[in-house]
């Protein structure tokens, strides 16, 4: 895997968006500011701005996803770009050669940007490294590695609800940290924004041994870990990535790590509860919490569109200045 600097141009501006790791405060803040600007577009009667008119964006989804693909598609359309949705059979093993062939074909169709979701870690980096220089690549989730736009929409949701001073916040990420590209990207983004405290809460089997090296506090007890927190980010229990006996049962998991109203009462009174979706009701979160007054889960979906509009227009910017 290539270094994260692949995603910045020589002036430090966004060129690809592959991971939140190795970015800087300015780039992250630019994305959040731009997303704030785009949030207003939704209030227009014509929910569209002509910014990316004449650009072609290809959504390359090698792995199933509804929410992410839909919000990327909507974001591109609200920027007036033309969108190609290409779902590549997830069950077939995609070898490097095939991937490059796909790439060359799309380049021949004069695409300007690739949005890539792939089950293998590093797939988006691979494409960014091999694509022609005028093409920007956005990572929409690669294996266990990164899901940077999800992390940024979570940061945007937190900033909108809690204000811009992340230093005053305690954020807890709960659940399957081990298999979660979302958690990894969130932790890097929270660190870049100088968050006061970041906690990860999970059973020992679902937390990487080196978690503390990321600058987080590790808890194995939910009731203890969420005491006094401002933000709780629940992760989905990823049944499809679960191999071997990491958990006794889903029922047991809910009993120990499910977010219920009783447990939520230990957090700050104005705590917000987030979840990247899709939710496993009754596994990691109780319906009364998911649909309750602290939940901002559906706002996250709405914010996903503004954040993806921001990332797309910023990356295209660097691409246009590249031609000068």
């Amino acid at each position: 895997m290539n270094g994260p600097n692949l995603q910045l141009d020589e002036k430090g501006r966004l060129r690809h968006f592959l991971t939140t790791e190795g970015l800087n405060y300015q780039v992250v803040t630019d994305i959040l500011d731009a997303a704030e600007s785009f949030a207003g577009v939704t209030e227009q009667s014509v929910k569209k701005v002509p910014l990316l008119r004449g650009k072609t964006i290809a959504n390359l989804f090698f792995e199933a996803s509804t929410r992410t693909r839909t919000t990327f598609e909507l974001a591109a359309k609200r920027l007036s770009a033309d969108v190609l949705n290409i779902n590549i059979d997830a069950s077939s093993t995609v070898k490097g050669e095939t991937l490059l062939d796909t790439l060359r074909n799309l380049e021949a169709m004069h695409c300007d940007m690739f949005v890539v979701r792939h089950a293998s870690s590093g797939a988006a980096h691979f494409i960014a490294r091999h694509a022609q220089p005028h093409i920007s690549v956005i990572n929409a989730g690669d294996g266990r590695h990164a899901h940077p736009t999800q992390a940024m929409l979570d940061m945007f949701t937190i900033r909108r609800r809690k204000g811009p001073d992340f230093g005053a916040l305690c954020v807890a990420i709960v659940g399957d940290i081990m298999h979660s590209r979302v958690a990894r990207s969130q932790i890097h983004a929270l660190n870049l924004l100088n968050t006061g405290e970041v906690r990860v809460i999970a059973p020992r089997t679902l937390i990487p041994a080196d978690a503390e090296s990321l600058g987080v506090h590790v808890f194995h007890d939910l009731s203890q870990g969420i005491r006094g927190v401002d933000v709780i980010i629940m992760l989905r229990l990823q049944r499809e990535r679960m191999q071997g006996a990491l958990l006794p049962s889903e029922h047991e998991y809910f009993h120990l790590f499910g977010l219920t109203r009783e447990r939520l009462a230990r957090a700050k009174p104005d705590v917000i509860v987030m979840h990247p979706g899709p939710i496993n009701r009754g596994v990691e979160i109780d319906s009364k919490v998911a649909d309750g007054p602290h939940s901002v889960i559906l706002q996250q979906v709405t914010h996903g569109i503004s954040v993806r509009m921001a990332v797309m227009s910023l990356a295209i910017r660097s691409q246009t200045t590249l031609n000068e």
Partner: protein, 167 residues
């Protein structure tokens, strides 16, 4: 020019707008200023003319025709139009009318919010250099500038017009 001469220009603009509205028989208009200078002037005009609808503001960054050349500034202020534009008479305010491209972008954006009954353009300064068939109905002051000369409004308090020569 100094601050002192901007204030009378705005008062004169208000008077001209009032007459123009009367002449065209337009009632219940709404006012929209273009960021940043246009909003400063619109705030004062909105007050002088006692317009009922809240002042609208536009940031035309997303509608610029040179985006692919200069790229995006992440800090775009949100446009605020807290009234329905449909069938409304709009008074559009900007500080300087130069090429006409800003006004074109502003009109495109306005139409994404609704279908106004009419749009009237009022500017503090009209200078030479039009590149599009766009003219203002109300002009505070006409300035003939040579090539290499620019006019700039600073503000919001105090408002001051400057003529700069870039050599």
């Amino acid at each position: 020019m100094t601050t002192d001469s901007v204030q009378p220009l705005i008062h004169a603009m208000a008077e001209k707008i009032r007459r123009e509205l009367q002449h065209r028989d337009l009632t219940n208009p709404a006012m929209v200023g273009i960021h940043t200078g246009g909003v400063w002037i619109a705030k004062r005009l909105h007050e002088l003319l006692q317009i009922e609808a809240p002042l609208g503001t536009l940031d035309i960054s997303f509608y610029r025709d040179d985006f692919t050349r200069i790229g995006m500034n992440p800090q775009v202020r949100p446009s605020e139009l807290a009234f329905s534009l449909d069938d409304r008479h709009i008074i559009l305010i900007d500080d300087v009318l130069h090429t006409g491209r800003t006004v074109r972008a502003a009109m495109n954006e306005l139409f994404d919010y609704g279908r106004p009954a009419s749009i009237m353009l009022a500017v503090l300064v009209e200078r030479s250099g039009r590149e599009l068939p766009i003219e203002a109905s109300v002009v505070g002051r006409k300035i003939d500038l040579g090539s290499g000369e620019h006019v700039k409004l600073t503000g919001p308090d105090p408002l001051a017009l400057h003529i700069l020569r870039i050599t």
